[in-house]
Amino acid sequence: MSATAVRRLRTGLGLLLLTIAVAVGAYVAVGLGLRGKVPGNVDIYGPLIAGGFLAVWLLARKVAPGADPVLLPIAGMLTGIGFALIFRLDAGLPPEAKLAQEQVTWLLVGLGAFALTLLIVRDDRQLDAFTYTIGLTGLALLLLPVVPGIGVTINGARLWVRFGPLSFQPSEFGKVLVVVFLASYLAAKRELLSQGVGRLGLPRIKDLGPLLLAWGTSLAVLFLEKDMGASLLYFAVFLVMVWVATGRPAYLLIGLVLFAIGAYIGYLAFSHVQLRVEYWLHALDPQHVYELGYGQIAQGQFALASGGLVGTGLGRGSPGLIPYAATDFIFAVIGEELGFLGTAALLMLYLGLVGRGLRLALERTDAFGKLLATGLTASVALQTFVIVGGVTRLIPLTGVTLPFVSYGGSSLVSNFVILALLVRVSAGPWERHG
């Protein structure tokens, strides 16, 4: 082993142990905070979590040698903190609620998906060969919930499909495929799309096709599925990727105009879009604060404010007061129990992930690799911004999950697929040649 490899091993192993310590430690701290004792099932969850991460780390070393050593630990810490909080929220719910048990299961499934992705995708450029198959599959997954009979509406949004006992959010996986498709498509067409017209370098009319298609898809998601958050995200990720691929700010500008038009149409067409804005502006108004929609935002504000600088301590807050604490509002729970120190640290973890992801993009020499890493990173970053901004009342709330942290199988598993792809991009086979 070379000196670099030894250093890498040491760093990787050290970070992995830290990850396991944070994940299991947070979960034990919740037990101590709630009941003054170590949780009874630590002998099950502890080894499961530790063993799971150790196994995928070993696998990653084997099938993706030279991979970035920081990506998996960061995701692991986020997942560990998320699990601890979901375990904590479980305690305040009726006994039949088994959020923590389900989340551990999904965590293991997610790690499995991570391993599987690394095993199947030995070279990320394999994916570049199936541009349109992947693109169409992605689009189909996005729009699958609209199909009558299998689509299910939950909380006003039609995001779910159900096959017998199994239900999942196909858009979470559709999102990954769409990013892969865009990376592949844009890598091939970027020269063409970068050709500008006139002094401003405006895109040619026929090149606007893909832009309008993406815009249409986003609007379709908004209109047919009433999923504002996802709609916003797809369009933003798309814009970022087109801009990076072509280097033309004009795409950003046109995109923003289209976004404004879409948002305005949405605002006029849907009362729930108008309400989201109302909730955002008037969450703490005394005449509204006890109403459901306003109250949810208000409770998030109260939870964050009551947490203060250092928080109440794990297991010592009142997250039972926050609606959708395990999914949309898990950031507020972190804020209440871990304080500003906790929320700032969490945001820094995400920023670390984003920094790592973009660095991978810079290190790659091929357009596909660059665009894939950029797109995947941007989707995680923007999703984090949309939900944290919504919970903290920086922007109107649109319900998306907090990547790796929120309760939810589809979200967790698809995030681990994203992680696996980033790890693959970082390891590649290219380093071996280079």
């Binding site: 404010a305 995400y350 920023l351 973009l358």
Partner: protein
Amino acid sequence: MDRQIRRLGLGLTALFLLLVGQVSYLQVFAATRIADDPANATRQLIAEYRVDRGTILAADGKTVLAASRTSRGELVYRRRYPDGRLYSGITGFYSLVYGRTGLEAATNDYLSGDAPELAAQTFSDLLLGRPKKGATVVTTIVPALQQAAARALGGLPGAVVALNPQTGDILAMYANPNYDPNPLSSQDPELIRQTWAQLNADPTYPLTDRAVAELFPPGSTFKLVTASAALENGDTLTTEYPNPHVLGLPLTNATIQNFGGEYCPGGSTTTLLTAFTNSCNVIFGEVGLQLGPDKLAAQARAFGFCATDPPVQTDCLQPTLPVIPFGQSGFFEPGRFPVPGYFQQRDPAVAISAIGQDNVLANPMQMALVAQAIANGGVEMQPRLVTEIRDSAGRVVKTFDPQVYGSPISAQTAAAMTQMMVSVVNNGTGTAAQIPGIQVAGKTGTAQHGKGAAPHAWFVSFAPAQDPQIVVAVIVLDGGNLGSEATGGQVAAPIAKQVIEIYLKGGA
């Protein structure tokens, strides 16, 4: 592409910094303001009940008036009052529905650990991960005397206040009827609401403390103030006044008669001493007329009586001891005496005020303060209920020294007043307060209030007369067990006697 990727990195970093900024605003800069929003009441309550609220102790530093105990459920601590009814007038209650009263309200910052003096201890508890603990409040209450007051009053409606004449310390403060603060301070909102509804529906108003919070006509005990004014304005014990058996009051429809319509002892004239000893209304009506509204009001004001009409609060004594909230939370209502303007056009009405009727009001605490000033050579002390605050580590973080309230009368007047009060007990209306071997000084009162209602019986006293160690004021409402036949001398004086005896002869 690399340029765009770098710019994207900068842009995303900026977005995340925006998030950090927003979070720091919510959790640090505006945290207190947002967390204090009334709509966040549940969290505020849970936080409040997570504090190991401080103990309220008696003067002996051992007897517990109020303490916290751990409890199951989201509210970690609950309040317990081991002898709730006996001390309810001092502790008040601590309710998650109806707030706080009494010392629970007046010393809340200390009990909850939020007072600035406790910041260092609270911070070190926070760092060491220990639960936040409130401070201990040490009161001046003497448990044996408090029990004696309750025993002496028995089941009669009324109140007893005992003060230390030199310091103003409240040795005992007990009222009937009273209430048990335990159910009100429980964690069962249903029980709390039920108890509250019952207490408020009770026609005897058990939540109103007769010792300090309600006002009654002081009747003849107010002659302590009128006589003080006369002595301060040149009278002596032997000053002679005309002695008719009825005093007509021009410009009013009223007349003043002595008790039972009799003549005051003496001849066609009688002395101030005789009139005081026998509580002659006619003579004190004359004293009031001679003094006039200005001088009488000034003397009342000097003893701590505030104005009634119009309500001017700035002209009466203002306590500085923070533990006795004045008026605002209903803990101590000072007495009332009208502004001189009240008697305009009908000056003779001041004669009625001079005998403690009409618009004059007081409670046992106010009258005890008058007697305390006399017992203390003319220097009135602020009533003191709390002596010190100890933090959770047992260190004394604050002491409340005795504070002078004012000097309503000269030492000479105080001596003369003492002489007259001794005469009341030895030869006058207060003989029932005599204790063998101890010279008691006192003044009776039998206060009319409303047609047909039995009078309130008063006795205001201190002992021993030449070396005062305790001041006791007693009121028995509506004549107690003697009804309309009751007098202060018969009904209230024996109660004061029992309390004084316990304090001076042991047992306390």
